[in-house]
Amino acid sequence: MAASVRMDPTSSADAGHPLAPIPYVVRSVATETPDIVTLTLNPHATKRIPPFRPGQFNMVYVYGVGESAISISGGTSDGQLIHTVQSLGKVSNALTRLTPGDTLGVRGPYGRGWPIAEAKGRDLVIVAGGLGLPPLRPVLYEIFRNREAYGRIEIIDGARTPKNLVYYDEVQGWRRRSDLRIQVTVDAAGRDWYGDVGVVTTRIPDARFEPERTTAFICGPEIMLKLTAQALAARKVPADSIFISMERNMKCAIGLCGHCQFQSSFVCRDGPVFSYAAAQPLLNVKEV
């Protein structure tokens, strides 16, 4: 599977083992929802991971517990990293319980990221579902740095209920921007929600873009990736202009342990971003 941007597969451990994590310190913890936190990390000493591209991920290490693949949802040029983590397993649970001053390990960045450069001059449709927004947020930061280079920006953000929305305040800030449109929708809500209720695909008819010159980035659960890609394809967005981010069990993140294979691809190395054209035939086969 080709398509998205090939990243340099540099290891984060310059003199040591390619699988050795680098110590980082938790600078702050923000609670997004009852089981999701956003960790801001600084390198503990001078060693740090190389600069990352939007869509890449790190293997984040909790001393004594283990590692988990977490997408990078922000960072600065002086080495700060931002990871939004949901408590889903042993390691991620430990990550959500860290407090400022705690040390953890990071190695990366790994994977192929979103092909943002190829989207210059085109309309961009960005669809995030559930915990799909964290891997997409760096895309928006890059676009904001160079807004005129892109056409229309349409963002659709979906979650289970309003209290499951991440980056809530930041999203409200994006709503106030006049250089993009953002629609937020949830699967169910109570009386205190005045926004849309319905699956993310219900927001696509209201999105304004020229299908032939649109690039779409979709991130979320696999069912949501498929449904959204199908809805965009139905509006004549070419399959090779639609990109999805996939998830698989990862142990090494360097294409060696075999766990993340998706037929011929290693999701850690050939993904996690794939073009829908390449991934689609396999997404329709059960348990590939």
């Binding site: 597969p9 390990g105 069990n249 142990k251």
Partner: protein, 384 residues
């Protein structure tokens, strides 16, 4: 003491094999090779010629392996056993690094990669191909596995050209044997008849020449070279199985819903034997091993198998839940997508997976079944 050159062919008498062992030790090598243990021929450290499986052969069929006495005293008169050379290059359990608490933080100490030089005595042509495959996996890409690379650089390879084909062998179909063509340190062919019992040695490297410098040898004559060639030809003509490999990558890619997968799924136990005995399977998992007081934590890597249910676990659910999907993953990877990933087949035709499968599933038969009706789709559970 003849000065040998790469390409030279010499004869080692059976009686001088002990001298060959001595020469290997004096050259600084530990010898690892075949020996009989627990009813099988396994690979282990050898100290003398008598450790070899002298006069033994193996009888292999789907799901069957038995040792049998030969009527002669051949040293290498068997085919392949449950062990592979992989276990000495990519150990079943390996410590990758040790982390130690360091104030608020921790330091990582990679595992040292120094170790003994080892002579692999008795590598079959297919097994050499297997090592070439794992070389590509572990050290052929942008990130090199330090442990594998270090161990691999210290190996002295002594190949053996097979004197008989095993019941499950199909190296000819996979283009991996039985003749050894590559520049391996030493290539042996055991000549039992016409007598006397001796070995034709081909010097494949300067290190091979160095090791043999003080071993009593005689130059090989034309009839001995012919004898060795005809042994290899006879082996090639008596393969236990065949596999048609033409277009196999596309065949498997376009038949992910073939009904044959349901058929094999009814038989496969997901026991992982095939992946454990396969010379090229490389899947692994990582384990965090902390001390009780957490002053030290070790990261270990151990063999894993795509047949394990937890292999694809993601957020508590396995992506490949059914046995069908796991067998399909193994076979389509080994024979198909391996080409996309590494530029060759992952299968070397040794037949171990057929021998050690408790229900005797034969990968050559599975491929043939799909070839017979390509494009067929399963009646249930197919594409929505």
């Amino acid at each position: 003491m003849v000065e040998l050159n790469v390409g030279d062919r010499v004869i080692l008498a059976r009686g001088e094999f002990p001298a060959f062992f001595v020469a290997l030790r004096e050259a600084g090598y530990e010898v690892v090779g075949p020996t009989v243990r627990d009813g099988a021929i396994v690979y282990d450290r050898l100290s003398r010629v008598e450790d070899l499986p002298i006069g033994w052969t193996d009888r292999q069929a789907p799901g069957k392996y038995r040792l049998e006495r030969r009527s002669d005293e051949a040293l290498f008169g068997y085919n392949v056993g449950p062990f592979t050379w992989k276990k000495f290059l990519f150990p079943p359990r390996e410590r990758l690094w040790t982390a130690r608490k360091d104030g608020d933080s921790f330091t990582i100490e990679p595992e040292p990669t120094d170790g003994p030089s080892v002579a692999f005595l008795g590598m079959r042509a297919c097994e050499l191909a297997g090592v070439r495959v794992t070389d590509r996996v572990f050290q052929g890409g942008p990130i090199v596995d330090p442990g594998y690379a270090a161990r691999r650089s210290r190996i002295f390879r002594i190949a053996v050209q097979c004197g008989q084909a095993g019941g499950n062998c199909f190296c000819v179909s996979m283009g991996t044997g039985p003749g050894v063509d590559s520049d391996v340190d030493l290539v042996l062919t055991e000549i039992l008849e016409p007598g006397p019992h001796r070995f034709l040695l081909r010097v494949g490297s300067s290190e091979g020449a160095r090791v043999l410098a003080h071993v009593p040898l005689a130059p090989a004559n034309a009839s001995e070279e012919r004898a060795a060639a005809s042994i290899v030809a006879r082996t090639a003509g008596s393969m236990g199985r065949t596999m048609e490999t033409d277009g196999i990558r596309d065949l498997l890619r376009t038949n992910l819903d073939h009904p044959r997968w349901d058929d094999v799924a009814r038989r496969c136990l997901s026991c992982t034997n095939c992946t454990m005995v396969c010379p090229t399977c490389f899947c692994s998992t990582h384990e965090e091993v902390p001390d009780l007081d957490l002053a030290k934590v070790e990261r270990w890597r151990r063999w894993d198998s795509c047949f394990n249910l937890a292999f694809t676990e993601l957020h508590g659910v396995s992506v490949r839940k059914s046995g069908l999907s796991r067998y399909r993953q193994w076979m389509t990877h080994k024979l198909g997508t391996w080409h996309d990933q590494f530029g060759s087949s992952g299968c070397i035709g040794c037949g171990r997976c057929i021998t050690w499968c408790p229900v005797g599933i034969d990968i050559t038969e599975e491929v043939a079944a799909i070839r017979k009706s390509p494009g067929a789709t399963t009646a249930k559970g197919g594409n929505p």
